[in-house]
């Protein structure tokens, strides 16, 4: 099974090769090749998933030796490092594979309509094929080395696709910003992998789990830090870069310069989720390192809250979704951080479906009205019924309305966070931020829906031209909307649990299997069980209440206009300013590292010039200067002009002349000098000998 699974990543890779070489000459610029390739991946991935559903558990893997770095001749160095790579199929992989291939297939399909007639149409498909191959390769990897290779390939594709409209300077800047920002995290992540090789000599996930279960690696240090904590933090940095977590979140909103299907595939459903996937794969190590998990939780919670606040004030429909993505990724990271990693993973999957749907809907809207500014939309409900219906369903899902997928996964994360804060006194900020974010999410998502689809048309011309999209674009919307219902994830399967004779929920069952593999199966004490039960009950009530409150506030503000958003804006004043400018993060980075330091220094010099030099030296000494004018005049003429000014010039030209003598352009004279230097060096080296 594992060998066949390689085909999943291979199909898009072949499509990429064909597309990049001869794509332009093929009929339809070869878009069908990419679509068929990813469809092939989907067809191969489905049986693996069905096996998980029917049997409750899949596990298969195979390894090949990539290279064996031996010592030199005659066995003088007997240390050998063997790098083994391979494929790991377990429950996590099966679920991820289906999610990625399905989302990618639908988005490919959508792109056929959306990108129709664009310049470099064939390259677009080449890039997203390569991206799909890399993402699927990452999911299939059984070790961090190939994982990292695919991770970097995805970064490259992200860079290429953000800068796809290469004639727009903003797109180029955004692509460079995305690439460089994620590079910070990637470099540290690679150090983490090196650390893993250092302490375990392997980066195979199963070997790592086994080693951690045995307790090896404790007490080893890297650069003076405990090795496990070091690796944990480095892995976290990788996630922070890739999943756009605070404080490296700045690239994701700018990445919206890319085509909308790209935003849906890369910057919502898959690549940014890869960071969370990494945390989940490495969860046993993070847990063993103790100090890492609280940091993970706080990073997630802070990201979720800050990004959600920014999303409220955005007017660009894609920017709202981008900040919402950052915020939801924050949820997932928080979920992993508080130990509810199955909830985090579930949110990863549910979020991929509904956020891809939202992005594609926004793409459909943008394609129709040719603007991204929500202030120029409005009243599109009747014009684009299918887009409206699907987007509304996805919005209900992300807002956490019962019956939809987002409710299930988000509620579990919040429950986990609450339980965590109950168990560990003093971490109340995490669930607080979580619940606040839940309310804010509902608020801004409904604001977006109301501004886009409800009310009157704010731009008559654009409204007039708006139209529903063809089927290739609406079918993906409908499928993704259908996946936003809770029953898809929380529903039962045919398998029956052993002790209860009732159908089990397939997702939980699959994740329990993963926990057993990782060696972190939970054995809760009755008291802890009670705490968890209580926390989840409480979380259910609170999250329902805050989501309801968010939707209610949004409705009376943007639908009924009982409250004026403008008034709030004025009331909030500086706070609004802060959020509108995204907490000045871009300015901070640009400013601190590039401009601010230099500018301030210049400012200081200018002030010094103005206040000290001008006032005191120039003005103050004017009188004295008047008196001694003649003396100074003479001095000026003789000493300054003759000696200093002319003298300086003479020295310079003389020095130039001297240096010019060495610069003959004749190779052999240079060689003579070189040999002389070597001899001098050898002479001093020889002094050391006896």
């Amino acid at each position: 099974m594992a060998q066949q699974a390689l085909l999943i990543a291979l199909f898009p890779l072949i499509a990429f090769v064909i597309q990049s070489l001869i794509g332009k000459k093929l009929p339809r610029h070869g878009d069908f090749i990419s679509v068929l390739a990813i469809l092939g991946s989907l067809v191969v991935a489905t049986p693996i998933f069905m096996k998980l559903i029917t049997e409750g558990h899949v596990f298969d893997s195979f390894q090949v030796t990539w290279m064996s770095l031996r010592g030199a001749e005659a066995g003088r160095l007997n240390s050998a490092v063997t790098i083994v790579i391979g494929v790991l199929i377990n429950n996590l992989t099966a679920i991820m594979l289906l999610m990625v291939t399905l989302c990618a297939f639908l988005i490919h399909l959508f792109s056929v309509g959306y990108m129709h007639g664009e310049e470099r149409y064939h390259l677009f498909f080449a890039y997203i094929s390569l991206f799909s191959a890399a993402m699927l390769g990452l999911v299939l990897s059984d070790n961090l080395l190939t994982f990292f290779i695919c991770w970097e390939l995805m970064g490259l594709c992200s860079y290429l696709l953000i800068g796809f409209y290469y004639k727009k300077p903003s797109a180029i800047n955004a692509s460079i910003k995305a690439f460089m920002t994620t590079r910070v995290g990637d470099t540290l992540f690679f150090m983490g992998i090196a650390g893993l090789y250092y302490i375990y000599g392997t980066s195979n996930f199963m070997s790592i789990y086994k080693a951690i279960e045995l307790g090896t690696g404790h007490g080893v240090t890297i650069l003076g830090y405990p090795a496990l904590a070091f690796i944990g933090f480095m892995v976290l940095m990788g996630t922070i870069g890739k999943s756009a977590q605070f404080p490296l979140h700045v690239w994701l909103p700018d990445a919206m310069e890319g085509p909308t299907p790209v935003s849906a595939l890369i910057h919502a459903a898959t690549m940014v989720a890869a960071g969370v996937f990494l945390l989940i794969r490495m969860f046993p190590l993070l847990e063993a390192a103790h100090v890492v998990l609280p940091v993970v939780a706080y990073v997630g919670a802070i990201t979720a809250f800050l990004a959600a606040l920014i999303a409220i004030v955005q007017v660009d429909i894609k920017k709202v979704l981008a900040y919402s993505t950052i915020s939801q990724l924050g949820y997932m990271v928080m979920g992993v951080g508080v130990g509810a990693f199955s909830a985090g993973f579930m949110h990863l999957i549910t979020h991929a479906c509904f956020k891809a749907c939202l992005f594609l809907c926004s793409g459909s809207v943008i394609h129709s009205v040719h603007t991204q500014d929500m202030r120029e939309m409005g009243g599109l409900k009747s014009k684009m019924p299918i887009t409206f219906a699907t987007m509304f369903i996805a919005t209900l899902a992300i807002s956490g309305v019962p019956g939809f997928s987002g409710f299930v996964s988000k509620d579990r994360i919040l429950g986990g966070a609450l339980a965590y804060s109950m168990e560990h006194q003093g971490h109340y900020l995490i669930p607080f931020l979580g619940f606040a974010t839940a309310g804010i999410t509902a608020f801004y998502m409904f604001r977006m829906i109301y501004m886009t689809f409800f009310g009157h048309a704010r731009d008559e011309h654009k409204h007039h031209h708006a139209h529903e999209q063809p089927f290739t674009m609406t079918i993906p919307l409908m499928v993704l909307a259908a996946l936003s219902f809770a029953i898809v994830f929380a529903g039962p399967t045919g398998i029956e649990s052993i002790d209860h004779v009732m159908p089990v929920k397939w997702f939980d069952h699959a994740l329990e299997g993963v926990q057993v593999e990782m060696g972190i199966a939970e054995h809760l004490s009755p008291e802890a069980e009670a705490v968890h039960h209580k926390a989840h009950g409480l979380a259910l009530i609170i999250s329902l209440a805050v989501a309801g409150l968010g939707i209610f506030l949004s409705s009376i503000t943007y639908l009924k206009h009982l409250l004026s958003a403008e008034k709030f804006k004025r009331m909030a004043g500086p706070l609004y300013n802060l959020v509108w400018n995204k907490y000045f993060f871009d300015e901070f980075y640009l400013g601190i590292f590039i401009k601010k330091g230099l500018l301030n220094f210049n400012q200081m010099l200018a002030t010094f010039d103005d206040k000290v030099v001008d006032r005191i030296f120039v003005d103050g000494w004017r009188d004295i200067a008047m008196v001694t004018k003649n003396v100074i005049g003479k001095f000026d003429d003789l000493v300054v002009d003759r000696l200093m000014v002319d003298g300086t010039a003479d020295v310079m030209s003389g020095g130039g002349w001297v240096l010019r003598q060495f610069q003959t352009g004749k190779v052999q004279q240079y060689l003579v000098l070189t040999v002389m230097v070597i001899i001098v060096a050898l002479f001093f080296a020889n002094l050391g000998l006896k």
């Binding site: 030199a72 001749e73 005659a74 003959t664 352009g665 004749k666 190779v667 052999q668 060689l671 003579v672």
Partner: protein, 108 residues
């Protein structure tokens, strides 16, 4: 005479020949105006390096690593000679001379 014979077949003998060849090569490179003459000097230098490697390989390590490196030196020398002669021919076509001092366009 016996003394000279034992010196010549010792490591020091090889090193001495290598050093002399090296010095002659450097001298040749530094004094000849003709670019091909410079190339001759470079070949001498490379051969001197090869002799040293082979000598240490025989008299000290007893492994063939030194010979492998000498082989690599030989191959690089061949590649270098091919490229250098192509450059010289090109230069000759351009300036009708192969005087190395004439190759000073970069100065101005």
């Amino acid at each position: 005479m016996n003394h000279l014979l034992s010196f010549s077949s010792s490591l020091q003998g090889y090193l001495a020949v290598g050093a002399i060849l090296f010095a002659l090569g450097i001298f040749c490179v530094l004094t000849r105006k003709n670019a091909i003459g410079i190339l001759l000097g470079i070949e001498l230098i490379l051969n001197a390096a090869g002799i040293n490697f082979v000598a240490f390989s025989k008299f000290r390590t007893g492994l063939i690593d030194g010979q492998i490196v000498a082989l690599f030196i030989m191959l690089i020398a061949a590649a270098e000679a091919a490229v250098a002669l192509a450059v010289i021919l090109r230069f000759y076509r351009l300036k009708q001379t192969i005087d190395a001092d004439e190759a000073s366009i970069l100065r101005n």
